[in-house]
């Protein structure tokens, strides 16, 4: 019965389908307000420190101040830097006259309401916590990598560098970690009643942590203020519970279109279309069975 229900509603109900009962907590998340981000990368550092994320090489990209480039197995907060020949407010009169603006955005796992990574995970390693967040259980993950291309934001990745904990057995002769890693929204800190490391470290309150409902209200008020002050391109991204992933648990206030920051403009949880895909596959399989039988049984033997 449960299976049938999952089949009919594959993306599930994040509040109901994991029955935490009395242990269920209020859904929490991040509101990342990029209008006050100063690009200090304290979030990146705090995240790496707290979560013991190993160093994966130092590179010089030549892309403004960004040398981490993208989220992945070893980068769970990533600060994007965009330099634009466009004033921050209005036509730029009275703001110093450079006509330039420098956009910074601290990207993170979106902890989607309908999370494709969680849906497609074949082992049940990815799960929804009592806080409504999405976490990989490292003792379960077998590194199949299905979640990696399933995520519409390219958040998850396999760790290819040497394992720092729980290494693979010696008989395999490999040292690579081989598991998938991503932001846990500091599950351990949440359990201890603390806010996530990145939010704690953020000096400008660009990263705000709290109950999702409260964050949405705060974001609406902030957007209204920026719009009233004439800021260019201010928009909320992932705030709407009716979007293609049912709203983000970690959403953003951006100052340009999402793709400028390397984010998809209109993400959809791929499993939304899975019932249709399964039906289509059953039709194909049935056709194969009948077709092969017909071609084998009818016609000449030689």
């Amino acid at each position: 019965m449960n299976l049938l229900q999952e089949l009919l509603e594959p993306t599930g109900d994040p509040d109901g389908w994991r029955a935490y009962g009395d242990d269920q907590k209020e859904r929490v998340g991040f509101f990342t307000d990029t209008s006050v981000c100063i690009g200090c990368k304290a979030c990146e550092v705090a995240c790496k420190e707290w979560n013991l994320i190993p160093e994966d090489g130092r590179v010089w990209t030549g892309e403004s101040y960004d040398h981490t480039s993208q989220l992945g197995a070893n980068t769970w907060r990533h600060v994007a830097f965009v330099e634009q020949r466009k004033p921050l407010v209005g036509d730029g009169n009275g703001d110093g006259g450079t006509g330039l603006r420098w956009l910074m955005e601290s990207d993170v796992c979106k902890h989607c309401t309908h999370a494709a990574c969680l849906d497609v995970c074949p082992t049940g390693s990815l799960f929804r916590t009592e806080f409504g967040t999405v976490v990989v259980q490292q003792d379960i993950c077998n590194g199949c990598g299905y979640c990696v291309p399933a995520c519409p934001f390219g958040v998850l990745d396999k760790r290819h560098i040497e394992a720092t904990t729980d290494p693979p057995p010696a008989f395999l002769g490999r040292k690579q970690d081989g598991r998938v890693w991503k932001c846990t929204l500091c599950y351990d800190r949440l359990k201890g009643g603390h806010e996530p490391a990145c939010a704690k470290a953020c000096p400008t309150k660009s990263i705000q942590f709290g109950p999702l409902e409260e964050l949405r209200e705060r974001a609406d008020a902030r957007l209204a203020k920026l719009e009233a002050d004439g800021w260019n391109g201010a928009q909320l991204y992932g705030r709407d519970p009716d979007d293609g992933v049912g709203g983000f648990g970690a959403f953003f206030l951006l100052l340009d279109e999402p793709e400028v920051y390397g984010l998809p403009p209109d993400p959809v949880v791929t499993t939304r279309d899975l019932p249709e895909m399964w039906a289509n596959m059953v039709a194909a399989a049935g056709t194969l069975l009948v077709g092969v039988a017909a071609l084998t049984l009818l016609g000449r033997r030689g």
């Binding site: 830097f81 993950c141 077998n142 519409p152 260019n232 979007d243 596959m281 069975l289 092969v292 084998t296």
Partner: protein, 340 residues
């Protein structure tokens, strides 16, 4: 001193310091509708074992059906050959899959849940049932033991086989990779047709022409069907479909068409008379099917690598529907042939 550059660095091939001071500044609203051209979705971490498995899994699944069909038609030689080919392919398949895992020793974690939202999980169960049944049947056939059990095993693998041959289409379609997800209507059919072609071709290699009529028909029908279905998918994909004409996917796509068509033509014209032609034709079709699986696999990587495929298809959808997507399946993604 050589500075190690990031593999995705915009400076690849250029030494640091050769960009002008204003290298990162962009004109607002101008060309930069991506973040330094970096990918939005991640390329799969899968390696060669996965497309190889798409081939072996398809071969195993369709061979099981061919074996039973031939048995019902009283063609024992063809039936046994297809049974053994299918069992061998079913045996190789899990080895390929386990070898691709980041943590192979945890392969059995696939079977700690049953999860219909995960095509990989369902596929693992299907492969377990199908492979278990076909190998049981093959071993009992070899030994001549327990006929009723063998018949039961054959029945199970005949029913599981078509699922094994087609679910891999859903597996790749159920991702955020644009060219795979938007190809979801055709992919299970294409993989099914490719499976039929390879099963027929493999049997045509091993069975004397006098008994291989059905095998040749399957190979030819499979090649024709997959050709038409690939065209249909490319039509639906619109701009996204260009990855099937570019880079590695483009080359593989052409190789797939050429090899499969040549093989099918050879089987059709000379496959009945000449054993050599049957062997060569069958081998060509099999090679074509391997290339087809690899073409689809590589097309996915290419469409993940360039952010324009993600951005353009989503922007087009917003423009066409006049609204953003929701979690209701109603607002179907970019697919011109389904447009209102």
């Amino acid at each position: 001193m050589s500075e190690k550059l990031h593999p995705l660095s915009g400076l690849n091939g250029k030494p640091p310091g050769t960009t002008s001071w204003s290298g990162s500044i962009t004109e607002a609203g101008s060309e930069m509708r991506s973040y330094y051209g970096r990918p939005i979705v991640k390329e799969p971490t899968w390696t060669w074992e996965i497309p190889a498995y798409f081939f072996t899994g398809g071969l195993a699944g369709a061979s099981a059906v061919l074996s039973t069909g031939a048995k019902l038609a009283g063609n024992e030689k063809l039936s046994k050959t297809a049974l053994y080919v299918g069992a061998a392919a079913d045996l190789v398949s899990p080895i390929l899959l386990i070898s691709d895992l980041g943590r192979p020793e945890r392969f059995h974690h696939m079977l700690r849940v049953i999860k219909v939202t995960s095509p990989m999980n369902i596929g693992s169960w299907v492969l377990l049932v199908s492979g278990g049944a076909s190998n049981t049947a093959a071993v009992l056939e070899l030994l001549g033991w327990l006929k009723p059990v063998k018949l039961l095993a054959e029945g199970v693998s005949t029913l599981a086989g078509p699922l094994l041959a087609t679910y891999t289409g859903v597996l790749v379609a159920d991702t955020a990779i644009p060219v795979w997800h938007e190809g979801r209507h055709e992919l299970p059919w294409i993989f099914g047709a490719s499976a039929v072609a390879s099963a027929g071709a493999a049997a045509a290699i091993f069975v004397p022409p006098g008994d291989a009529g059905p095998a040749r028909r399957l190979a030819i029908a499979g090649v024709l069907a997959e050709g038409g279905l690939m065209q249909a998918m490319e039509l639906r994909l619109g701009n996204l479909g260009e990855v099937y004409h570019e880079g590695e996917a483009g080359k593989l796509s052409w190789a797939a068409k050429g090899l499969a068509a040549a093989g099918a033509a050879l089987l059709a014209t000379r496959g009945r008379k000449s054993r050599t032609s049957a062997v060569v034709g069958g081998a060509l079709v099999c090679a074509g099917e391997v290339c087809l699986r690899w073409a689809v696999y590589k097309a996915g990587f290419q469409s993940a690598r360039d952010p324009k495929y993600v951005v353009e298809s989503q922007r087009e959808r917003i423009e066409r529907d006049g609204t953003k997507a929701t979690t209701e399946p109603g607002d179907s993604p970019a697919s011109p042939s389904r447009g209102a």
